[in-house]
């Protein structure tokens, strides 16, 4: 670059709007290797091979997306979220984009069975001018599918080394050193190359120049230039090039139907998909609802929490703060922020959340979740959601609080509002389900039927009303269905731990705040006042004993407290139904409320919360007047 060119560039750089220059830049003094690829191509296995056990998992600033960092020889190694292209369409892409932009070497992992899809990203990385090596994974499946790939020609077309691997068996891993050493810039179209080089003076790197040409607003804003409007041309050109390469290097002669293809179709078509869904839910119930919620939690909550932790911490605190005092009550009383909240968080919620996330990760890694989303898409469309919303809705049966956080994966604010409202109104969490199931089982078939129909009707009605009244339209479903595969246990565990940790980190504080609020309400008599206030409504309108009011108020604290409070009342089977309908629709637990306020804003959160009071008592009363 000439002196005047350098000067111009410096002047230009001064004009830039500089964002908080990501943590990647600060870390990269050692040089960095970044693993990039489409979702489910086996990046993590290669990352683990390179970095061993010593890894750091962190949330990328401002997102819930994980970035995993390790070390390999003189390099920092980063694993990125699976993406189909580098751009800014969602959080995963934004994170991957930033990590890739700062990479010295990129290991691009592709799925040998789906090269046509995966090479789009490969060619984009080449167009970004990055030093690259391509690892073609799943070569065992390629062989089984009788696909013939000419890897040498592929390497020639791309201009970068191409290495076949079977990541799960570590085959080809002995060539990783060689791969890293030989990584190089690939073959770009001459026209693209010339344009990108002409932009270098203004933006510094070829990669950023390409993203600006492709209309990436964030990168354009960073360099104070107008985003380009060539995305469609560049994308179609790239896609055509990939299609041409594929036509030259692949012979796919197999016509044999595979079991996974059949299974894939069975999971999507309702006639077989619904029984499969029910069976999957039943298996999840056996694991989460039976094994963890009953066996594990009864040990952790009762044995560790109630029998050991709480008496120990209570006696310790009481040594310093007198037992009868107000402070003692707040800290270690019935709703003590140290006693109840710690037991609740660590010994009840944590095992449940881990179990739920493990089930979810298994469904995700097997390729089942996108197929389930496809099957339920048109049904969820009727209540203003697309198929992807099934994920937070299912998670809600585990913990409404964590499900409320998961609504972030939905694309529009409208969908987030609808999903959050459904979760808060009509989805009972696992803590509550256990109590509801026990009470309903004792009440008989008819009460169970009335309960189920009522809750389902409310769910559909709320979804339909919100869909009709909220402005805008929901985003349509466009989903790549990854192949169905046996999940890798390491990957499932890693995801589960990361998500559970993330949930505990985000929600724990709110549980303490909630417990403090309830402790204060109890000490100041507000709780008693609320219970008294609810009594006329409980006896007159719901036709339940006056004591049921206490159960409802307890439900404000923890949903299962509310339902469990009904155990000790002598209720007729239909009174049980009325009480359970009311308590299911009634306000979410205090932690869930806090997280909802954070996610959806104070106003919307408050409206939903008040709405649950109104709907719960209105519907409960109507059911009561019909069945009693």
């Amino acid at each position: 670059m000439t002196d005047s060119g350098e000067e111009n560039r410096k002047k230009h750089v001064e004009k830039h709007i500089h964002f908080d220059s990501s943590f990647i830049e600060k870390e990269n003094r050692k040089g960095s290797i970044v693993l990039a690829g489409n979702p489910n191509v086996g990046k993590s296995l290669i990352f683990n091979e390179l970095s061993g056990m010593n890894v750091e998992v962190s949330n990328y600033p401002g997102t819930t997306v994980e970035v995993i960092k390790g070390n390999y020889r003189v390099y920092n190694v980063y694993d990125t979220p699976g993406i189909y292209g580098v751009s800014s369409f969602n959080d995963e892409e934004r994170v991957a984009r930033d990590v890739i932009l700062n990479a010295d070497i990129i290991i691009n992992v592709v799925d040998g069975v789906h090269l046509e899809r995966d090479l789009f990203l490969t060619q984009q990385l080449i167009d970004m001018g990055k030093r690259l090596v391509v690892l073609v994974n799943f070569m065992d499946e390629v062989k089984r599918h009788q696909i013939e790939i000419d890897l040498q020609r592929l390497s020639k077309f791309l201009g970068v080394p191409v290495i076949p691997i079977i990541a799960i068996e570590k085959i080809g891993f002995d060539r990783l050193d060689e791969a890293i050493a030989e990584a190089c810039e690939g073959t770009q179209r001459e026209e693209t190359h010339t344009i990108l080089h002409s932009m270098l003076k203004m933006v510094g790197t070829q990669a950023e120049a390409l993203l600006i040409m492709e209309g990436d607003e964030y990168i354009s804003q960073k360099h104070a230039v107008e985003p380009g409007n060539h995305r469609d041309e560049i994308y179609i050109e790239r896609r055509n090039r990939v299609n041409y390469i594929i036509s030259q290097i692949i012979k796919d002669v197999s016509t044999k139907k595979r079991f996974t293809d059949l299974l894939s179709r069975w999971t999507i078509r309702p006639i077989t998909g619904i029984p499969i869904f029910i069976f999957t839910l039943y298996l999840s119930y056996l694991f989460v609802g039976k094994f963890v919620a009953q066996d594990v939690v009864s040990f952790t909550e009762v044995q560790i929490g109630h029998n050991h932790w709480e008496p120990w911490i209570r006696s310790l605190i009481t040594e310093y703060i007198p037992a009868a005092s107000w402070w003692n009550n707040i800290l270690v009383g019935d709703f003590g922020i140290i006693t109840m909240t710690t037991t609740y968080l660590l010994f009840l919620l944590l095992p449940l959340v881990i179990a739920f996330y493990a089930s979810l990760s298994l469904m995700e890694d097997s390729g089942y979740l996108p197929r389930l989303a496809t099957m339920v898409d048109s049904t969820l469309n009727k209540i203003g959601l697309n198929g992807r919303a099934i994920i937070p809705l299912i998670l809600g049966f585990g913990c409404v609080t964590s499900a409320t956080i998961t609504t972030r994966l939905l694309s529009s604010e409208r969908e987030k509002t609808i999903a959050t409202a459904l979760l808060q109104f009509a989805i009972p969490c696992s803590a509550q389900i256990a109590v509801i199931a026990a009470l309903l089982a004792g009440a008989g078939f008819l009460p169970m039927l009335v309960y189920t129909i009522t809750i389902l009707s409310v769910l559909i009605a709320i979804g339909t009303i919100l869909n009709k009244t909220l402005k805008g339209e929901s985003t349509p479903l466009l989903l790549d269905l990854p192949p169905m595969r046996l999940p890798r246990i390491n990957n499932v565990m890693r995801k589960t731990m990361f998500r559970s940790y993330n949930f505990m980190k985000e929600a724990s504080g709110w549980f303490f705040v909630g417990a403090l609020a309830v402790g204060l309400a109890q000490s100041t008599g507000v709780l008693e006042f609320l219970t008294r206030g609810l009594k006329p409504l409980t006896t007159g309108w719901l036709q339940l004993p006056a004591e049921a009011a206490t159960a409802f108020v307890m439900g404000v604290v923890r949903r299962d407290f509310g339902a469990a409070g009904l155990y000790h009342l002598s209720l007729s089977p239909m009174q049980i139904t009325v009480a359970l309908v009311t308590i299911t629709l009634f306000v979410p637990c205090i932690a869930s409320l806090m997280v909802m306020m954070k996610e959806r804003g104070l106003k919307e959160g408050f409206i939903i919360w008040i709405g649950t009071w109104i709907v719960a008592f209105a519907i409960g009363g109507i059911v009561s007047h019909i069945v009693l």
């Binding site: 990203l121 994308y235 496809t374 048109s378 198929g387 349509p476 479903l477 269905l481």
Partner: protein, 87 residues
Amino acid sequence: MQKDKELHHLNTVKSGQWIRIVSVPQGVLKAQFVRLGIHEGEKVKCLDRLPGGTIVLQKHRQHIAVGSQLAKQIIISLCIDKGMHHD
């Protein structure tokens, strides 16, 4: 190659039909389609049409689900011939 030039919306196709993509919605959706290999002029198979109108497209070994609302915005023509080989 014989082709039926009559245009249809994607949501009207039946399971098993071969189609050619004529146009997809502009903007981010178009970019996402191109990434996944579904762009204008491409020949693909409708692997499944689910009740409610969700369409599952197949291009070689890749399966892509398209919601019914989106399928209504995609224009296609029906292909009479089959055949979708790499070579």
